[in-house]
């Protein structure tokens, strides 16, 4: 059986029993976007590479990903974002539970989605097109919340915009994005 043509879940099962080639395959699939996210938040290529390695080593060591709770992409993005934001927070800054975005409620089991069947380039093109359909205000608020870890109160203050407006923009932006990408995430 050629592991590289298997679904993420199947490759992950191989990884859990110590098959290091499975780690290489998952890195080939997600290393690029993990690095992209780490670089966006950390703004330093070396730090982004360090974090990318750390994220995949955590996957290798702990194997905590549960395929019944969401896609591997979602798990890796949540882990990367959480670790990256933790790093940029200054000492003594208040600790908020960033990982909640990825951990809140139990979710339904998933089956392989069109997302898994698409290459990184295809995903990038699809998501970039979806993002351009959002009004600028919605996209900006969503990006600020996701990449900076700022609360919406902090975003409202920074943009000098009422909190209610910021909340509506973020929620509407996310809902619209979900509708556009609905077929893609399954």
């Amino acid at each position: 059986m050629n592991l590289s043509t298997q679904t993420d879940t199947e490759v992950f099962q191989a990884l859990k029993v110590g098959d290091i080639s499975a780690l290489g395959i998952l890195y080939d699939r997600y290393g690029g976007v993990v690095y992209r996210l780490a670089l966006k938040i950390l703004a330093n290529p070396q730090s982004a590479e360090d974090l990318t390695q750390e994220v995949f080593l955590l996957l290798w060591q702990k194997g905590r990903y549960d395929p019944t709770r969401g896609s591997l992409n979602s798990f890796l993005m949540t882990l990367t974002r959480s670790r990256a934001i933790d790093r940029i927070r200054s000492q003594g800054a208040k600790q908020r539970s960033i990982e909640r975005w990825g951990q809140n409620l139990e979710v339904l089991p998933t089956v392989p989605t069109p997302l898994e069947l698409a290459s990184t380039e295809e995903r990038a093109q699809h998501v970039q097109e979806a993002m351009t359909t959002l009004p600028e205000s919605q996209r900006r608020v969503l990006e600020m919340a996701y990449y900076s870890g700022m609360s919406q109160s902090e975003i409202a203050q920074k943009l000098n915009t009422p909190l209610g407006t910021v909340k509506t923009q973020a929620r509407q932006g996310l809902i619209k994005l979900k509708r556009i990408l609905n077929d893609f995430v399954g």
Binding site: I20, G31, L37, E49, T52, S74, K178
Partner: protein, 250 residues
């Protein structure tokens, strides 16, 4: 459900995922969750998956190509088993004798020892040896190649090979008579490509100076000259600044 409640429902769940619900909204969300737990959970999953796709829209950026190998080496090192030959096995059955004999012969070939003497040194449990069987079976394949490493200093008696089977995902480094080192130091193996050293793994010999280390198979391990250096264990694993201890003939 008419349009207005549907929009409110979606907004509540989006607010939950974005963690911006007011106290009043939180109560409404909890009520919704009690009434329609499966629907709410499914919507939460869709929104989380959507958020996790947004990094694909970031400007294209790729990590250094060497990061992949670095990652695999680091992962392999966490699980690598250093086999202490002095603790390998007393035999308890005919079948066991036969297997241990063939394994010892291959190991002896690699280490340049005679198999009889090596067998005399085998003292450990059958269970431990079973764990090592994967390495030995690789050593027994006919298309296995040996890349010889020799000491850099004339006074050193270190010797050994990198054992490479092209069809296998792992290579095995087998060294003997390597000088013992304190905890603050490690040996590191590098592939030298166009004058630059690329990290392939790090190791510490056992008290007898023996090393048995599995490494992820890389083309460079066969084609590029290899060197072993002695480095501070806390130094970055990508930095080769210590003295050269062994090299290949290439």
């Amino acid at each position: 459900m008419d349009m207005q409640p549907l929009e409110m429902w979606e907004e509540l769940v989006a607010g939950y995922v974005l963690e911006d619900l007011s106290l009043e909204e939180k109560k409404a969300f909890d009520q919704l969750l009690q009434e329609r737990p499966e629907l709410v959970a499914a919507e939460i999953r869709r929104l989380k998956e959507t958020l996790a796709l947004t990094p694909y829209a970031l400007p294209d950026a790729i990590p250094s190509p060497r990061l992949r190998n670095q990652l695999l080496v680091a992962a392999e090192q966490q699980t690598a088993q250093v086999i202490d030959l002095s603790t390998v096995a007393s035999r308890r059955s005919v079948a066991w004798l036969s297997w241990a004999g063939s394994a010892a012969a291959v190991i002896a070939l690699v280490l340049g020892l005679d198999s009889y003497r090596l067998r005399q040194e085998l003292q450990t449990t059958q269970e431990q040896l079973a764990q090592q069987q994967s390495i030995v079976s690789m050593l027994q394949q006919t298309n296995t190649r040996l890349v010889t490493l020799r000491p850099s200093a004339p006074s050193s008696e270190a010797s050994g090979n990198l054992v490479v089977t092209p069809s296998d995902k792992d290579a095995v480094l087998v060294l003997k008579n390597l000088a013992p080192i304190p905890k603050e130091q490690v040996y590191r193996l590098w592939a030298v490509i166009k004058g630059k050293k690329f990290p392939c793994g790090q190791f510490t010999p056992d008290p007898k100076g023996t090393v048995f280390l599995k490494l992820p198979m890389e083309e460079a391990l066969v084609k590029a000259p290899l060197v072993v250096t002695l480095e501070p264990s806390l130094s970055p694993s990508t930095r080769a600044e210590g003295p050269m201890v062994m090299t290949t003939d290439i």
